[in-house]
Symmetry: C2
Subunit: 463 residues, 2 copies
Amino acid sequence: MNIREEARRMKLDAPKLAATTLEERNAALREIAKGLEEKKHEIFAANEEDVREATENGVAPAVIKRLKYTEEKLRDGLAGINQLISLPDPLGKVQMKRELDEGLVLTRISCPIGVIGVIFEARPDALVQISCLCLKSGNCAILKGGKETARTNRMLFRIIRDSAIKAGMPEGCLKQAELHNEIDELLMCDKDVDLLIPRGSNAFVQYIMNHTKIPVMGHADGVCHIYVDKDADFEKAMRILPDAKMQYTAACNSVETVLIDRAVAGEFLPKLADMCQEKGIRLRGTEEAMRLLSQHAQNENTAGQQTAGDTVATADERTDGVGTESTAGGAFEVMDLEEFHKEYLDLVMSVRVVDGVVEAVDHINRFGSHHTDSIITENEETAAYFFQMVDSAGVYQNCSTRFADGFRYGFGAEVGISTSKLHARGPVGLEGLVTYKYLLQGHGQIVGDYASGKAQFHFRELC
Amino acid sequence: MNIREEARRMKLDAPKLAATTLEERNAALREIAKGLEEKKHEIFAANEEDVREATENGVAPAVIKRLKYTEEKLRDGLAGINQLISLPDPLGKVQMKRELDEGLVLTRISCPIGVIGVIFEARPDALVQISCLCLKSGNCAILKGGKETARTNRMLFRIIRDSAIKAGMPEGCLKQAELHNEIDELLMCDKDVDLLIPRGSNAFVQYIMNHTKIPVMGHADGVCHIYVDKDADFEKAMRILPDAKMQYTAACNSVETVLIDRAVAGEFLPKLADMCQEKGIRLRGTEEAMRLLSQHAQNENTAGQQTAGDTVATADERTDGVGTESTAGGAFEVMDLEEFHKEYLDLVMSVRVVDGVVEAVDHINRFGSHHTDSIITENEETAAYFFQMVDSAGVYQNCSTRFADGFRYGFGAEVGISTSKLHARGPVGLEGLVTYKYLLQGHGQIVGDYASGKAQFHFRELC
């Protein structure tokens, strides 16, 4: 059966899955946890083959680490399922109950979205997490994982689906897509698939967004900022910056740009440059930032107090405003303003000197990707302005941008992070996988009577 | 200034509008109401010219009625503005407040979507409603109305924008697009426009959806159903059906298809046919429906009790399953199953006999547009099944589908009705024009400490 036919079948099964009780869905999750535990050796064996092949193909060690499905990852996965079981039912919540007129009652109730397609990177734990989130929220899911973990995915998927169906979930609750061309087939299913959640590279997510009529939830890029305000506690800044850049450099919520208040730039920039040199982070930035760094280095030189680790040079060889300099803290590359749009996902950081919080906010709203941005300040008034004006899914004060994550927000798990402003924004957990419908119960009421004035609405909240 | 540049400017003004207080936004609404009242004669004069031109161009009287901006429509518009002023602030609502760890507090707060483009039909009252809804919800709006009311729109827009700016709203809060080619320009502004709300014909909305990367909220078609169950109160059904079809035939929430439980079809169909003949509604349907109607007519004949208004004939001239018959209640056209997808927006109704509520639901989920569907039944169990299983924005019992409307739901006003399952579903009022952001306040926390086990999350709800 091809993806289109399968999607049509799932669409018809979707209301059946939506009608299951919380107990039934939790029983399915328990069955899945049991199945994964019982068949773990088969999973590990399949995964070893995937890892062996990837290694033979010269896949980078950092990526191999993500492909590996270990006892520890299984344990985390089972803990995640148990946490999911303990969460309240996202379905059937009465969000509003209003009497429109006597005997005419409007109720808004939460329900699943329907059929969701999730296309994710080569990470076996992602398959477990996503399928369980979809089941708990009563959504049918079509899952397509990265090809490097094909064997592991197939094994995990079979165990998860068999367990779910054994526990009474409808046949069409889960479907695995395995072939790459099935992605394009999936993109055509706008009549039957209600939502697509692509995870992966900027280019991949863009491709999905540009080639389907199905609504897409996710983010293409994560250009996150940290703004160091004049009232910043530098110690906090120097703790937060390396974490935000290096705790997981390739993550969407890692920092790409540091904005520094002009009032403290001369003092802070050299510290930043030193830290970057020490940590192996390449620094790029505006001419002004470079000038300040050079000045500082000269001053240090003049005072004869050059500190260890500084390689100092002045900007005399540079032409046309762009070039690489060796300043305090090591190499420093001057960049164009438009390059601030760039997501490095690497040990590179852009730096710009700004005229206080107002210019910092303008820069973030203009060059950022509306993902997650943080201010370092002890001034609550400045922080309040930043919170109000920054147009991003996550706006932080005095903490690392890396906190933008479903687990860390206490959602149990996430299917992804959304930079869209519609529906779910930020990390998307169970709540982002539901919609609602309006139920209206009457006794023969017609609109004609209200239009003619024979009857009148008198709204009364019932809950 | 072209639309693109204007949109970019509005994007920068959007956080300023978002930061206005409820009092400031309400003051702007009061100023607008005052302006409209004071300049009403200029508005009426402009409208008279529009109406004269439309009449000269041979525009249909029903459409002319919508173009006209009368004292009564102004009064309704002012009442709407006053109702909007009385509604609570949709912005700045704390939707969640959670301590992730000591001194690390996550808050989810409602905020405007940003810049919204609304393209609407030639109805001057729509311009007033939409611009005021956007202002109250703190959204910048680009408005493009139907060309038949160009002069009225220009006058209304000028008064509304001038009043808003006089009351302190930022310059970029409202922008009018007047030329048709500006729509295509608007569709390209995916970097600066956060949401498009198109209103109008199916073809127009489809065009918008297919030609932009901007998220679109709305509905292309409204194929609404009424299912007459075996436990239906026929009297209610006969009250509701003409209202749902005729109270505003061209509306998206008017009924297109009647599904009848086989158990009562023989009894109900003739009544339906009589009503349709009386009201001038053309009936189309499946062969079975036609057979039942013919049988009824024959029985009536045999018993010599033909009632007035019935034109009776048997199905002997028909070939290949499609044709027109004259049966009880007048002309009856046999149709193919696939035609049940059709939205008539006219005095035509499709009818199908189904095997109870289960088949009715399957039909609705397959052929409907997930807009609004109603069951007529006195059986609460059957109604509960219908509520649970029908996958539509509005699911009703014993009332007209025409109730699907922001005013009737008590939202004060609506910008449109959404059949999307993401973000807002059904009639979209103030609540559908806001999103949220996550604010995280810390004291230097980094993710590395939680990853290493040095620190642990302990989630605690603060509200």
